[in-house]
């Protein structure tokens, strides 16, 4: 059983290195509050994707403690990780859609993996495809979709299971500014429903477009938190 916690994520002195190379993340400490909206910024190679990998449990840190939904996931047996992953929605930078499945089946995948009955899948998936404006492309394979359409399928797949936390890696990197703004509005809509959102981006123009969002800035693997808002986030009345 995954315990409910006030803080959705806590990083404490986390370091990550691949093999024997230098650390790509060093002494990273922060806390993410339920229902908040975060931008993770930094130059290319600053460690944004590595930090997201730690968040969506694709990687274990080399040192430090990570608590997700109140549970230490660093020492958690790997057989218990799927239950945590099902509470996360991830929009990958390269979409990572299954190439031989239709848009419909890609969006339905998290529900099927979670054991939802086939009869209960059609409506939410069709609704979700309609929400992202892809009802007419439900049978299309990813290879026949445009970059923006693939992006929206990836977002629909990430949010179909109503995750507690949505992680998006450069979600606007492959779309035009107009589409980028639309995608951001989708994330805001989800955030208003209580989902914690973390968007990694190097597009500084996006940061001003979501009111009340907090900014995490990575510089050469170190997180700057000059105000202390990440480590000691302010209490929010409507959160949780």
């Amino acid at each position: 059983m995954i315990e409910r916690a006030r803080d959705i994520v806590t990083f404490d002195n986390v370091g990550l290195r691949y093999g024997t190379d230098r650390e790509v993340l060093s002494d990273v400490s922060f806390t993410l509050h339920p229902g908040s909206f975060y931008f993770l910024t930094g130059a290319s190679g600053a460690g944004k994707t590595s930090l997201l990998k730690l968040l969506y449990l694709a990687q274990r840190p080399s040192r430090g403690v990570i608590r997700l939904f109140g549970t230490d996931t660093v020492t958690l047996p790997r057989k218990r990780l799927p239950a945590f992953r099902r509470r996360l929605g991830v929009v990958f930078q390269d979409f990572r859609l299954v190439p031989h499945l239709s848009a419909y089946d890609n969006v339905a995948l998290p529900l099927r993996v979670s054991g939802v009955r086939e009869g209960d899948i059609a409506k939410p998936v069709n609704d979700m495809l309609e929400w992202v404006g892809l009802s007419h492309r439900r049978e299309a394979r990813p290879a026949t979709l445009s970059g923006g359409e693939r992006q929206r399928v990836a977002i629909a797949r990430a949010v179909i299971g109503r995750p507690d936390m949505l992680l998006a890696d450069e979600p606007t990197g492959n779309v035009d500014p107009e589409m980028a703004l639309k995608l951001l509005r989708l994330f805001e809509a989800l955030n208003r429903l209580g989902t914690t959102v973390v968007v990694a981006t190097h597009d500084v123009h996006l940061l001003r477009k979501v009111s009340g969002s907090m900014i995490m800035r990575l510089d050469k693997g170190r997180l700057s938190d000059p105000t202390g808002a990440l480590r000691y986030p302010p209490r929010r009345e409507n959160a949780g």
Binding site: R78, V116, E130
Partner: protein
């Protein structure tokens, strides 16, 4: 694209109760089916296993049949040179043996039958005045097998009435043949074991190859919360289908081969070979070989997939 409010998946719906399996799960891994090498490798393995197993079981039946027939059979030879003395001792021996409780049947082999048996080697000359002296033979059937103790009792009973009698168990003559057949049985068993091992190795390679070529999809399913068991089940099912198709083809090929071999051996018309047929239970065992093959393939695929997945986070 609407941005008002995302559709809601009901909490009750999100609770997993259905197993992620069947065609929907199988669709995650592209299926080559008969276009891939796996079914054909399995077909060859199953066909060879069917032939080896059938050969082993036929040899077992042959040995059992021959041993059953010969186990209580004893030959008494009267080796006297003089024909009159030979005939006298044969009559006396027949009477003495008939009184023994362990003897269930006996007969003096007629001279005509002996002449017929020896004619291919000695020709007609064995029957004239210049004939080679042939011992008188008495076929004796004992209750139970002809043990050394039983043979000693027969010899004791004949010592006084037929001093030129020699008593031999018939099974003893065929002991080297039975030894050779037993070696062939072990060879058949070893072949079946080797073929099962090779089949498992082929499945292991196929499963590893499939895991490698579908690594991206596996990672996606993993990151969406898929468990090792769910992913392993997909590969297990895929390999199971390939093995089942290969097993059916292999069984058909094996049966054709058995039919041809059976007709060839039947044409020999040898008394010994007559015992070497397959019984109903043997056919059941042969029919079960593809199912065992599918089970081994699925188990191997599952273990291979689980071992590979354990190396992922």
């Amino acid at each position: 694209m609407s941005v008002e409010k995302p559709p809601v998946v009901k909490g009750s719906t999100a609770k997993g109760i259905a197993r992620f399996g069947g065609n929907r799960a199988a669709a995650l891994v592209p299926q080559a089916r008969l276009a891939g090498p796996m079914p054909w490798v399995m077909a060859i393995m199953i066909a060879l296993t069917v032939i080896a197993a059938a050969g082993g079981m036929a040899l077992t039946n042959l040995t059992r049949g021959a041993q059953g027939e010969l186990s209580g059979a004893v030959t008494v030879q009267i080796l006297a040179a003089q024909p009159q003395e030979k005939a006298r001792q044969a009559d006396m021996a027949e009477k003495a043996l008939a009184e023994l409780p362990q003897v269930t049947g006996l007969r003096i082999v007629p001279q005509s039958e002996l002449d017929e048996l020896l004619e291919p080697w000695l020709g007609k000359s064995s029957t004239g005045d210049l004939a080679v002296p042939i011992p008188a033979l008495i076929d004796v059937q004992l209750r139970g097998s002809a043990s050394e103790g039983q043979l000693a009792e027969l010899r004791a009973a004949l010592t006084s009435v037929a001093p030129d009698a020699r008593v031999d168990a018939q099974s003893g003559w065929l002991q080297p043949v039975f030894g050779a057949i037993e070696a062939l049985q072990w060879l058949a068993l070893a072949l079946v074991a080797m073929l099962a091992t090779i089949s498992a190795a082929a499945v292991w390679l196929a499963a590893r190859s499939a895991l490698g070529s579908n690594r991206d999809t596996i990672e996606i399913v993993h990151l969406l919360g898929g468990t090792d068991a769910q992913i392993a089940r997909i590969f297990q099912r895929s390999i199971g289908f390939d093995a089942a198709a290969g097993g059916a083809v292999g069984l058909a090929i094996g049966m054709v081969a058995l039919s041809v071999l059976g007709s060839r051996f039947a044409a020999l018309g040898s008394g010994l070979m007559a015992n070497g047929g397959l019984r109903p239970l043997d056919w059941l065992v042969i029919a079960a070989i593809p199912f065992v093959g599918v089970a081994i393939a699925m188990l191997t695929a599952r273990l291979t997939a689980l071992a590979a997945l354990r190396r992922m986070l």
